[in-house]
Symmetry: C2
Subunit: 242 residues, 2 copies
């Protein structure tokens, strides 16, 4: 069985967290976003699934993963499913739930990162909500960003197994996601993230460690990895960086 | 072992989704929000856990559940943990992940319901973001509300087991959560929700069925159930209802 990942073409977005897990595990998968439309890929393929009235368990939105005949949606849920199968999660139930809990906290963090440039919602362009974005992103930089980063730094510090990641002695999928969040924050908020990450040596080290892993390095150097850009989740608008 | 639920006093909030599962299963639990501060409950008890430097796996935010010596956070994760133990989730892995996926979609819906009155974030009062709330809630009523409700109505319709709920032949925790969302929407957006729910007979029936269950009925009639109010997740501001 070859996994198929369905997501928007042209952006990393939430799909990237799934890609990093699949790449780290070196399992074969088809990234439908990279398959040309006339070869059955791209947006039409994704929309066909979303509109399929014969599907008993339809996804609400991308990303979703096709595994055999099943479609699994919600980024954190996809990673929960893949974690065991790709050997990127602890084996015990308590450890698995803890990794998932951290992933869900990253999910919340991502909503706030996104809403810093889209406080009125995704149905308005950034240009239609610039003053509101400035107010929200000021609060984000001053309160929410330090709160989230401080939390994850403490989690790294308290990992009693002394692993390089957040849980146990080995890297798990949530570490890959955390490294991606740090890369994204550095793109979107270079000033604010540098200031906050100065207090987070463990997060900086985790970022470096993840992006130095051979398979992740190979992936990032490949044409499969898209560049950060301003149609994406992480956006760089200097006026929002303080 | 007696579960302990930690959450903000005075509101239903996200804690209510956990309470409904515990009440439906009729397991003993302590609602720390209802325990007086001088008896070791309330906000200080919650903050003590959040600030406990000896905790290897700290919650980021309430609600969280104490189960034995573990603290489990993130509403959907708590329900994933409780689902099997309380017999409120399917037994097979695919079914469990599907119920969890739906719960995560409800989580996303709740963020948008909350942000309709707090688009600039929770650190500003509603009164400081009224014009922004009007813009965001108009988009919410016209696009997001119909999209989410339409999705869950389809899920009910496609449940091939013919159960009264979204998955399989029996009620699961996500059905309890869905009924609570409908009750909350009717409080917060009486006009907009009536208009949209007219097209969703299955969601209306699910709401009635859940709140007619003997244990849920007893709970709602008890002093443990707080009333909806405007310090809560669901808020009724007539100007946001169109």
């Amino acid at each position: 069985m070859v996994y198929e990942l369905y997501y928007w073409p042209g952006i990393q977005g939430r799909g990237e967290f799934v890609r990093l897990a699949l790449e780290e595990a070196a399992v074969p998968y088809v990234d439908i976003a990279l398959v040309p439309e006339d070869k059955g890929g791209g947006v039409p393929a994704m929309e066909k699934v979303l509109a399929d009235a014969a599907l008993e368990r339809p996804p609400f939105a991308p990303p979703f993963l096709k595994a055999g005949r099943r479609y699994i949606a919600q980024t954190a849920n996809i990673l929960l499913f893949l974690g065991n199968r790709l050997n990127l999660a602890p084996r015990d139930e308590a450890g698995r739930l803890w990794v998932h809990q951290l992933q869900l906290t990253i999910t919340d963090f991502l909503v706030e990162i996104h809403d810093a440039h889209h406080p009125l919602g995704a149905n308005f362009y950034y240009e239609e909500q610039k003053p509101e974005s400035k107010r929200r992103s000021k609060d984000f930089r001053e309160h929410r960003l330090p709160k989230f980063l401080g939390y994850f730094e403490r989690v790294l510090q308290r990992n009693s197994a002394g692993g390089p990641g957040m849980v146990g002695a080995r890297i798990s999928y949530v570490d890959l996601s955390m490294a991606q969040v740090i890369a994204g924050l550095r793109y979107a908020f270079p000033l604010a993230s540098r200031r906050e990450l100065r207090k987070c040596p463990r997060l900086r080290a985790l970022h470096d460690l993840v992006f130095a892993r051979p398979r992740i390095k190979r992936y990032v150097a490949s044409s499969r990895r898209l560049a950060f850009n301003n149609d994406d989740l992480f956006r760089h608008y200097p006026e929002l960086d303080g």
